[in-house]
Point group: C2
Chain length 295, copies 2
């Protein structure tokens, strides 16, 4: 994801754990495992688990023991991509430059692979050992996760997105949409790191602000990238949102306005980090990376 | 479901809680809530939550405080029906005599309603208050649930079912398929009741045997019903499994053989109840009901 040795090591660890996870396929459900594995190992940047690990690191916690739980967001994210790409949703044939899950495995198996990835994401947070993690904190993590991914979180945001047609979207409504669709899971990743790193209340509040800003920044820059980039660079069909006449930040604010909004959002996140009074260089770099990626 | 006053009261309580659950729809995601509600309130028999409550009752526990957690299996079951009915899966237009979710709300919203119901099922088990439930037991319940519903449970069973074509299925393979596809969640409902009713190790083992037998019995009798019943009685397209040349218990054992197998499975469950040395009349009646329903 970023050319930092620390991040590269974490990405490698995450990738290794994911490969390990599917090393013993269940002979009875082999095609399901292959479909789950295909999308999980299709070249994701691992931003979400890395974000969790960077927060743990910033708070002086143990990143190694955080990895199994940090993977949950990657499984959840992958399920959401598989379902978003389906013919009845965005109908995308390409993702990260590769055929989408339903193109390779068929629609039925793609739906089921997504379903199983959601269950497995919960299972990791429920079951995976994590030294010194008390039961109450584990349940608090699970509660954060359940709220971030369901009806009031990611799925709710996806429904808002699908139902946009013919509706007037102002900037506040667009923020709510993406706060759920993309932001809630990114915010969760930061909170997970905060809980695993034993943040106190003041630190949690600052990291909440950072996580919220980062989720928003992610979508604003995605909209900007989508407008500017070519298919070959993004690995997905560029300009698609524009074609479908969906509200985007550049459409509501203009391209320059959207860039200014991204910069303000970045500043908000950076200010929150400053207030932490810890060495947050990596978290700051991640926010910079999200702002400037793809250029 | 059954004409017993106790069960009717529980069914009413479950229905009321489900109605309550959607009484305040989120204005931003109203269509999602309506799609979830539609299938949840489409006339299910509530077998799964009732089963949990009957186990709690048998063990002398508090059924009222068990209801919020008992609902989780109904949400999960409903999500599985919505996804199973999709065009790329079983392609069913009718369920319980009503148009299926994707017929009413479209395919995209049906997929998302299922996705959100899975998240919400976990959320209920994570978040809903339950007096005297300690954190370790709650996490054990969540672990049971995650295993019952995902890759090695329900979704895995659905994949085995979809991939049957051209494969030789013996009775053992068919048991594995249905043990996952249907049995795992029914077994979970019994275990949930056992944990909420503070079963000791001996009682848990007996209830595991009962839950396992009940899950199997459910599928064997479903196969028998599907062969015998008319569309009008079942409220779904009868004889469908036969048409699609899928393995069923009657196909492998003959109709009389399948009935004998159902009776043996029923006895196995009843014997386990006897060994409990408690008043298990209701659990016994539920098993009888599953064996004889629809005739």
């Amino acid at each position: 994801m970023m050319h930092l040795p620390q991040v590269s090591r974490w990405v490698d660890s995450v990738d290794n754990q994911l490969i390990q996870y599917f090393s013993q396929k269940d002979p009875l459900t082999h095609p399901l495992d292959r479909a789950m594995e295909y999308s999980l190992l299709a070249g994701g940047k691992r931003l979400r688990p890395v974000l969790t690990l960077a927060v743990v690191d910033c708070l002086g916690g143990n990143t190694d023991s955080a990895i199994p739980l940090a993977l949950a967001s990657e499984l959840l994210h992958t399920y959401s991509l598989i379902h978003d790409d389906l013919p009845s949703m965005d109908n995308d044939d390409l993702r990260r430059g590769k055929p989408t899950n339903h193109i390779v495995f068929g629609e039925a198996l793609a739906i089921l692979a997504g379903d199983a990835l959601q269950s497995e994401a919960f299972r990791l947070l429920i079951d995976e050992p994590c030294p010194d993690l008390d039961l109450a904190t584990r349940l608090a993590i699970l509660s954060d996760f359940a709220h971030a991914v369901g009806r009031n979180g990611m799925v709710g945001g996806q429904v808002m997105d699908l139902q946009q047609a013919g509706k007037q979207f102002d900037i506040e409504r667009l923020r709510q949409l993406h706060g759920r669709k993309t932001g809630a899971l990114i915010h969760f990743c930061v909170r997970l790191g905060a809980r695993l790193g034993r943040a106190n209340a003041r630190e949690m509040a600052a990291l909440d602000t950072y996580g919220h800003a980062l989720g928003l920044l992610f979508q604003v820059t995605d909209d900007i990238l989508d407008l500017e980039a070519e298919s070959s660079v993004l690995g997905k069909t560029a300009g698609k949102d524009q074609d479908q006449d969906k509200a985007t930040f550049p459409k509501l604010l203009g391209l320059e306005g959207a860039k200014a909004f991204a910069d303000e959002t970045l500043s908000l996140g950076q200010d929150a980090l400053t207030s932490l009074e810890r060495d947050c260089k990596l978290l700051s770099d991640i926010a910079e990376y999200v702002r400037n990626r793809g250029h």
